[in-house]
């Protein structure tokens, strides 16, 4: 039996549809119920919904053999997991955004508001730019408007929220999408099951 951690929300539902089409269905998963864990013994899978940012923890710690996590989470937390497949869904980008017309003043430390401190720090280290990270847990866009930060590092999907707040993307750091991840130890002991699932999921990605 493969334990699979899915991210709650629209992305998780989309990804589950891929698993279903790939031959690993579990219809009870999409029903409204208070159940937390959903089995399909015949298909050899057990699904559970978890908070998107927790998927990698469940997989790294072996509570799940397989999971689906955004590349942003993998880059930020760098869990010890295998990243087996780019599912090519949930596509967006990690970007630096700033108030329209922003000019970086290199004589000052750049104040960066973000939920993704490691990604921001790694990015600016490669540029050799001195920064002050302001770690926020949400509503990042408001930080430069109120003068809390000069720029933000955040996920940008369509850019609508940025535009409505007179912000603009000034640099793309990395493209983001959902990835199929696996526990390293679980992979050793359930190799054939993981490989079979991986192969079928790969076909689904190619079809899409």
């Amino acid at each position: 039996m493969l334990n699979i951690a899915l991210p709650k929300g629209r992305l998780g539902e989309k990804v589950y549809t891929m698993f279903e089409k790939a031959g690993f269905p579990c219809p009870a998963l999409m029903e409204n119920s208070r159940k937390l864990i959903f089995d399909n013994e015949e298909a050899g899978v057990r699904y559970f919904w978890v908070k998107p940012s927790d998927v990698a923890i469940y997989v790294e710690r072996g509570a799940a053999d397989i999971g689906v996590a955004g590349k942003d989470i993998l880059l930020e937390y760098q869990p010890e997991v295998y990243e087996l497949l780019d599912l090519d869904v949930g596509k967006c980008r990690m970007a630096v955004a700033a108030p329209e017309g922003f000019q970086d003043n290199l004589s000052r430390t750049l104040r960066v508001a973000t939920k993704f401190s490691r990604i921001a720090r790694d990015y600016y280290t490669t540029l050799g730019r001195d920064i002050d990270i302001i770690h926020l847990n949400g509503s990042i866009e408001i930080a430069p408007i109120l003068g809390l930060s000069d720029v933000i590092v955040d996920i940008v999907e369509t850019g609508t929220t940025l535009r409505e707040n007179h912000l603009e993307v000034i640099e793309t750091i990395v493209p983001i999408s959902a990835r199929l991840i696996a526990n390293k130890s679980g992979f050793k002991f359930k190799t054939e099951q993981v490989e079979r699932l991986l192969e079928e999921m790969r076909k689904e990605v190619e079809k899409a």
């Binding site: 790294e60 072996g62 295998y82 990243e83 087996l84 497949l85 130890s185 002991f189 190799t191």
Partner: protein, 315 residues
Amino acid sequence: MQINDRVMDPQERIGFRLRSLYSDAGYCRYRMSKFEEYDLYSRNKDFLFSEGVITFTDTNGRLMALKPDVTLSIIKNGRDIPGALRRVYYHENVYRVASAEDGFREQTQVGVECMGDVDSSCVAEVLKLAAKSLELCSADYVLEISHLGILGTLTDAVASGERMREALLQCAGEKNLHGISRICQENGLAKGAEEPLKQLLNLYGPPRTVMPKIRKLAEENGAAEYADELGQAAAAFAGSDMENRIRIDFSASGDTKYYNGIVFKGFISGIPGSVLSGGQYDRLMRRMGRKDRAVGFAVFLNMLERLTEGGQADA
């Protein structure tokens, strides 16, 4: 008085059994009864399992470190003896950062180091000892073996700089084949240039199944000599009970500033991470001014806390 080993927790029980195993194999105990200067670790910080070292000022004013590692101390305190082989084992507490949230933790580690005139038979001996160590913990284990020479050759064939090389090796450790393609594409490589590297990473499994394909791929890419070394290492298990527990897997890697040649990791069913890690570290020896070659491994006893007497992981 006989000691009832039921009073011991799994870590202690396994720790003492491993010590017996290594002692019976002719390894002498290395005791790390004093502390090393912080400088020893700061010069080789990437070799350490975690960032961060607990420091303190000794009575003579020197800045010391509270044992983040044992291997560096063994290398520093040994000396080269041409033609000889020094076999030691240790059973020590080390102090490392478990995670950013958890801070420093005391962890117990048992390990084996073999230094001197290390040849393929010595590497095979250490590999067998690693497999026996895992077997002592649980019957359901896997020892995966890789060769940094083969992985390095195929990576260097596409990497155009140290940063790209590091990124590719990180992807290799994650079995992240799409990541390898993306990096090569971003660096303007011709389509398909990365295929040999991706093929290598896809060649994982029992040696009998994958070695012929690895040899062929290595020959085609100028790494035949390394494939021979890997083949010799895997052949050490041929016909033994341990053979079906051995896997070749090039995602098992180590920092190439320190490690070279054979590297390996051990896993036990139900335990989420590797419980054993080791390899040849001739490069670390050179960095520390030693001419000897070396191979060794460590067993992380803290990972075995939830292992029952029967070798099952207890949730």
